[in-house]
Amino acid sequence: MIGVLASVIDGVLVGAVYGLAAMGLTLIWGVMRVINLTHGAMIVLGMFIVYYLSKTLGLSPYEGIPIVVVVAFVVGVVIYWIAVDRVIGRPILMSLLATFACNMILIGIGTALWTTSPYNIPVSLPGISWQGYTFTGTHMMAAALAGLIAGLLYLFLNHARYGKAIRAVASNREAAELSGIPTKQVLAVTFGLGVALACAAGALIATLFPFTVLSGSNYQLKSFVVTVLGGLGNPAGALLGGIALGLVEGLATPFMPVSWTPIIEFALFVVVLVAFPRGIFALSRA
């Protein structure tokens, strides 16, 4: 019983990181109605950036996160201008294909550069022992950082001038344009931000588990499940949804083999979408 509880707590900690990743996805959707299918590739990018920072500069991943965020932001803005800008007004089919194509390109380049071998970043932090179970320091640190970044995002969106501009564009782009907000720039910045969140999450995940170039698709699926749990376009819901997913994983791992987890998540994804189209944690809105 304690084992299950420990597993659940562990799951919740990891879930916070999932929530962070999903926040990036949901932010982009909420503001520009684009589903960013490069999300998985961006998570992988975050992983590899901190890997190389730790190998070449000896930086710990935690120190590397600010660098990851900046680099990712730039990459995001570039991807926006190259691929997304042209397809914004068009049918969803086009934006899906455009971001998907980018994903193919990025993963393809990644595979060529790094092959599909697993990578690992050794990180050690003191953990907490309790009743014979250890809660690793890395898990707690990752959850704490995820929460911190989420908090910063919340403050930015609700209290900073630019953050409010982003929310304005999300709610009514034409009106925002008319009030003098440079919408194209805001969209580019939002995309960069969404990507930065994904990369930061990737960096944190790298401290917890080994990874390969192909890990992205797995975490992308998780991000989708979380986004759907929390309701599209709802960053707070995304964080809660992430924790919920982590909880589910924590409950499941003591009882079934790891290879079944993606299938359970996929089933959860479909069930939630069909039964709760607005998300379980969505705030009721018109």
């Binding site: 089919l93 899906l96 294909l97 390109i105 989708f224 993606p262 299938i263 994804f269 069909v274």
Partner: protein, 346 residues
């Protein structure tokens, strides 16, 4: 407005509107299907006349690609639903057909038809559920379905589990031995390809197809106009899952082996989408041209070792370029340059 404006159902109606164009007035509706059948006949006979096995193999692969692409186009090009995991029907059809032939000793043609019917029915039932999802969620769910089915089959002992099913040479005896069997399978596959293209055309010019196109443009508006969207989508999903399993059955029968990774290969799934966009979605000839072009390109690229590593990158770049600059694909470009081609090149 960069949406391809050539998805017009009623090109042949222009004559009623007084546009004097001898070509359009004189072109009856039957020409295009006739062209398809002619193309199929040439396609089948070309390698046969030269008794060229190498060419046959290359054409066989092209026929498979064309079938996959044109089938998929019904969902993507007409209804606007991207099915990333579309390969699942190909693989399932392969398994059903091979299983029927090896374990139950069914004749090949019957087994292939059964595979088509069974998978199509499954798709219809399943479609009602999964098509409640929209846009990207549907797209991702289809990937999930593919993965889930692959996992399941890999653990399913009656179908050989992770190792799959091998076909011994005995399987080819009823067809007159391996050599004759290979030719027969080739002709059958070309037949399936022609069927697939004809079905695509029939759907596009029918009332059902009009409803699908409406859904693809704006699903909610289509509903308000009276299109029964859930049923329409499920039927389209089912229709797009008919020739594919047959092609899969024939293909894996000929290959002599079917196993989970090869049967549910996501890369091929994605390549089918690239082919559609390359050739022109929403048209009948688009997927055909796209599949052809892509197969040639791929064959060419694979010869160079460095470039073959970047296969995915190149496919992705191609897809991106098409979406950004030429969403109508090759056929869309031809239609815009030479508007009269719209009636001939559907």
């Amino acid at each position: 407005m960069t949406v391809p404006a050539d998805i017009s159902h009623e090109d042949l109606d222009h004559k009623d509107l007084g546009r004097k164009n001898a070509l359009e007035v004189a072109t009856p509706r039957r020409i295009f299907p006739g062209l398809i059948v002619l193309f199929g006949a040439l396609f089948a006979l070309f390698p046969y006349w030269g008794d060229d096995v190498g060419l046959r193999e290359s054409f066989l692969l092209a026929a498979v690609y064309i079938t996959l692409a044109s089938n998929l186009n019904v969902m993507i090009g007409y209804a606007g639903y991207i099915n990333f995991g579309n390969i699942v029907f190909f693989g399932l059809g392969g398994y059903v057909c091979v299983d029927l032939v090896t374990r139950w000793h069914w004749p090949l043609v019957a087994a292939a038809l059964m595979a088509g019917a069974a998978v199509s029915l499954l798709a219809l039932v399943f479609g009602f559920g999964i098509l409640r999802l929209r846009g990207a969620f549907f797209a991702l769910a289809t990937i999930g379905v593919n993965e889930a089915v692959r996992q399941f089959v890999a653990n399913f002992e009656p179908w050989g589990g992770a190792t799959g099913i091998y076909l011994s040479f005995d399987a080819y005896e009823p067809l007159g031995g391996p050599m004759a069997a290979l030719w027969l399978v080739y002709f059958l596959l070309v037949g399936v390809m022609v069927l697939s293209l004809l079905m695509s055309y029939a759907i596009k010019t029918s009332k059902f197809g009009l409803g699908l196109l409406a859904i693809g443009q704006n699903e909610d508006a289509a509903g308000v106009l009276g299109v029964r969207t859930p049923r329409h989508k499920a039927l389209a999903y089912s229709a797009s899952a008919f020739s594919r399993p047959m092609a899969g059955g024939l293909f894996f029968f000929k290959s002599g082996i079917i196993e989970p990774n090869g049967a549910f290969d996501l890369t091929l799934s994605i390549e089918a989408i690239v082919m559609i966009m390359l050739g022109g979605y929403g048209t009948v000839s688009g997927p055909l041209l796209g599949a052809f072009l892509y197969e040639e390109l791929r064959g060419y690229l694979l010869t160079s070792p460095t470039i073959s590593q970047l296969q995915l990158v190149i496919a992705g770049a191609l897809l991106l370029a098409m979406v950004l600059f030429a969403p109508g694909g090759l056929v869309g470009f031809i239609h815009q340059r030479w508007p009269r081609s719209r009636t001939i090149l559907q």
